[in-house]
Symmetry: C2
Subunit: 430 residues, 2 copies
C-alpha cells in the first residue's frame, strides 16, 4: 500500500535541532518511506538568517517568510523547532488552519498554551505532537499518554534538566561550589551564557506542567507549578546529604494527593537516597521515574537535550503524524477530563532537612523541639555538634505539609537561641 506522492514537511527553524531533523529526513529517506508508507519531502525551511550556509539543505528551500510557508496549503506536517512563545504560537495556529499537522519541540509554548493549541488542532482535524519538548530523546510523552493509558499514574519524579544535573553532579563528585561547577558547565557548552532558565528551574517547571497534565489527565498551568532554583545549593549541603546517605538533585515532582482529589506539581532541589535509581543519573543525562497503580515503578533514562537526541524524538513524532495523515486519522490528543484542582505548595507533604546555628547552652534542643511540636511536625532525627565554640543542630523531620514545615522554620528564626538557619532542603524519593 505504498503511495508515491510524497508527504510535504515544512521545517520552522534550522538551528542545532532543525539541521539534524533536515539531515535525517534527507539521509534516511528510504527508511522513513518504508516506515511511513509514503515518501517524505522537505518542502521548505524557514530561517532568520538565509545567508548562512546549511550543509545538505537545498538553498532553494530556504525562506525567511515562515508565515507564507505554513500558509502554502500543500504542507502536510509543520515541524516547529524555533522555541519561545511568538512567532511559534501564531505559526502553529496558522499551520492547523491551512491543513497541516504539527510536531513541536517547544516546551515553553506547550506548557503555556497547550490546551488552546490542542483545541485548534482538534477543530481542524489535525495532530499536535511534542515528544521532544520533555527530556529530549527519552520516550516519555508517548509512554505516559499511550502505554499507561489504561493505568492510574500517581507520581512522576524526574531529572528533566541536563544543565542543572551536570552542575549538581560536578558539585557532588568533585566537592566544587555552585559557581565553579556552573563555570565548567558553561565552558563545556552544557550551560548557556545566561543560565537563568535552567538554574532557576523555569525550564524544568514548564516540563513539570506538561508531564503533570498528561499523567493526571487534567489541566496544569505553568503558574500552578511551584518553583525553586538550585543556585543556593552549597558544598556544605552536599556534605550534609552524604552524611544522610543521599545526594542532591533538582527534581520535577508531580503527585496525585493520597485522597485522589487533587494534584501538585513542583520543581526544587532535594536530597534523595543514594539507593534511589535517580541518584545515579550522571552528567547531563535525564531520567524520569513514574509510579502507576498497576505498573508499579518505571524509569525512563537517556540524553535530555542536544541536536541529534532531540531530532530523534521529533522524527518519531513525524513518522506517527505522517502515518495518521495517510490513514486519515489523528492520534490521541489532549486529555484533561479529570479537571482536578492543583493544590498549592503549602499542601504538599514532604520532609525537611534543616541545619541550624544555635547557642551552645543547655535547653536549646528542648526549645527547638517545642517549636516543631507546636507546628505539628514530628522529628525523625536530630544531630547536635559543637566545634570551635560553634554549636549546630541538624534536624530531619518526618513527613508533614510544607506549610507546617515552613512555618516551623519561620518560628525557629525568631528563637533567641537560634543564631541562623544555615540551610533547608527537602528530602524526597523514599
Amino acid at each position: 500500500m505504498m503511495r508515491t506522492r510524497p508527504l510535504k514537511v515544512a521545517l520552522l527553524g534550522c538551528g542545532v535541532v532543525g539541521s539534524e531533523v533536515a539531515r535525517i529526513v534527507t539521509t534516511h529517506a528510504d527508511d522513513l518511506t518504508a516506515r511511513i508508507g509514503a515518501p517524505v519531502e522537505l518542502a521548505g525551511v524557514a530561517v532568520r538568517r538565509p545567508s548562512k550556509v546549511r550543509e545538505g539543505i537545498d538553498p532553494a528551500l530556504v525562506t525567511t517568510d515562515a508565515t507564507a510557508l505554513v500558509k502554502r496549503g500543500d504542507i502536510d506536517v509543520v515541524v516547529e523547532v524555533i522555541g519561545g512563545i511568538e512567532p511559534a504560537r501564531t505559526l502553529i495556529t496558522t499551520a492547523f488552519e491551512h491543513g497541516a499537522s504539527v510536531v513541536s519541540a517547544n516546551k515553553a509554548l506547550i506548557a503555556q498554551d497547550g490546551a488552546a493549541l490542542h483545541a485548534t488542532a482538534v477543530q481542524h482535524g489535525r495532530d499536535l505532537y511534542y515528544e521532544a519538548a520533555v527530556a529530549g530523546a527519552i520516550p516519555l510523552i508517548r509512554p505516559l499518554r499511550e502505554s499507561l493509558a489504561g493505568d492510574k499514574v500517581n507520581r512522576v519524579l524526574g531529572i528533566v534538566n541536563g544543565t542543572t544535573n551536570f552542575i549538581l553532579d560536578k558539585m557532588d563528585t568533585t566537592g566544587a561550589g555552585y559557581q565553579e561547577a556552573l563555570d565548567e558547565a558553561t565552558a563545556l557548552g552544557y550551560a548557556e551564557a545566561d543560565p537563568t532558565a535552567d538554574v532557576e528551574g523555569f525550564d524544568a517547571a514548564a516540563k513539570a506542567a506538561i508531564l503533570a497534565g498528561i499523567a493526571f489527565h487534567t489541566r496544569v498551568r505553568l503558574d500552578d507549578v511551584y518553583r525553586e532554583g538550585m543556585t543556593e545549593v552549597t558544598a556544605s549541603d552536599f556534605a550534609s546529604a552524604k552524611r544522610m546517605g543521599c545526594t542532591i538533585k533538582l527534581l520535577a515532582i508531580c503527585e496525585r494527593a493520597a485522597d485522589g482529589g487533587s494534584v501538585t506539581a513542583r520543581v526544587h532541589p532535594a536530597m534523595i537516597p543514594l539507593s534511589h535509581p535517580l541518584a545515579s543519573v550522571r552528567e547531563a543525562y535525564n531520567a524520569v521515574f513514574v509510579e502507576a497503580e498497576a505498573a508499579g515503578q518505571l524509569m525512563f533514562y537517556g540524553p535530555g537535550a542536544g541536536g541529534a537526541p532531540t531530532a530523534s524524538a521529533v522524527l518519531g513524532d513525524l513518522v506517527a503524524v505522517c502515518r495518521n495523515k495517510l490513514g486519515e486519522s489523528t492520534g490521541p490528543g489532549d486529555s484533561a477530563y479529570t479537571q482536578l484542582p492543583v493544590s498549592s505548595m503549602g499542601e504538599v507533604v514532604t520532609r525537611y532537612h534543616i541545619s541550624l546555628d544555635v547557642a551552645d547552652k543547655p535547653g536549646v534542643l528542648a526549645q527547638v523541639a517545642t517549636v516543631f511540636a507546636e507546628h505539628g511536625v514530628s522529628i525523625d532525627t536530630v544531630r547536635q555538634t559543637v566545634k570551635d565554640g560553634e554549636a549546630s543542630l541538624v534536624v530531619v523531620t518526618h513527613r508533614a505539609p510544607d506549610a507546617a514545615l515552613s512555618g516551623t522554620v519561620e518560628a525557629l528564626r525568631n528563637l533567641d537561641t537560634v543564631r541562623g538557619v544555615a540551610s533547608i532542603m527537602r528530602v524526597e524519593g523514599e
Copy 2:
C-alpha cells in the same frame, strides 16, 4: 464525540494477568471511557475451570467455549492471556476472521508466529498489539516501534527475565550458589516448579527475537537466537567478576553488525561493568538498554512480570486498539522491510573471560599465549596465581569473533599443560 454503544472485549484466560485485566476494566470503567471515547464492556471470559469463583466477574460472562466467544461477531477486541502456542494461535486467527482486533501477552506465540499473525491481522484490517509480551509493564514495544520510528537502532541490551535476575542478584549479594539461590526464588514464588523456560534462557530468547525484529525492522525467528542458560554460573564466577569490577547478568543482546548488513540476537550470561546502568538492576526487575544513532543511549526500567504490571501493559494496548477501532484506522503493525540476514553466534564480536587450571611450570604462559595468537585473538589481561600447588591463569581477551574465541578455548583444552578450563564467560556492556 463520546459514543455510547460500548466496545465489547472478550477475555481469553483469567489467571493472574487476566483477572487483573478484568478488575481494571470494571473498576476503572469511567477513566477508560473518557480516554477511549466510548465505554468498554467485558462481553465474555473464556476459562478452563468455570467452577472457580472469580471475584468481581459476573458468572454469566464465563464460558469454557473460547472458540464460540471469538466467533460471536460482536466482539471488538480479544485479549489473549492464555499463553503457549495452541489454542492461542487458532483463537487469535479466528478472532481476526470474525472482526476483532487482538491484544496479546503471549511472547512464545509472537516470537514463533508473529509474522503470520500480523499478516492475518492486516488481511482483515485489524490490530495486533503485544506490549505485555516483553518486559511486563515496561513500555518497550511502543517506544521501539513508534518513538524511535525515525531513528536507527543499533543495539538492544536487556535484562528481560525477572526470575534469573532474582537468582543472579542473590548469588551476587549473598555469595550463594546457583541451587541455593534458585531454591529461594522458588520459595518466594519468583521461580516456577519447573524453572527450565527461565533458567535455560528460552523465555529471554523469545523476547530477544521479538525485540530484534522490531528494533531492526527485519524478521528474526526464535531459531535465529543463540541461547545459553545460566545454570552453570558459579559463586566462583561472581568472585572473578568482582575482581574485574563487574557483575553477572543474563542478557538478551540484539545487535546490528558494524557494516549494517546483518544482525544478531543472543541470550547468555555475561559479565558487565558495575558502572553500567544494567548492573544495578536488582531482584526481579527488568531493564532494557537501547542504543540508537540519533537518540544515543536510552534505558527503560520496571517490573518485568506479575499480574498487575502485565495487566497495565495489556490495558495500554486495549485503549490504543479501541481508539483505532473508533477512528476506523489501525496502528503501526509489523515492519520487516529490511530483510537483513541474521548472523550466527560465531560471527558475533565479543570478549571472553577464561579461567584455566594449568601446570605449575615455566613456559605455560608462553604456550597459552601462542594459542591465542594462532587464532587471531588478542589478549587484554592475564593474571597468574599459584596456591597450594595449584596454578591458574585468568585471561581476558580483546574483542574478537565468537568463533575465534571458542576455537581458542578448544585448542587450549588440548594443551598438555592445561589441566582444565574452569570457566568461560563473555564480557559485555563496555
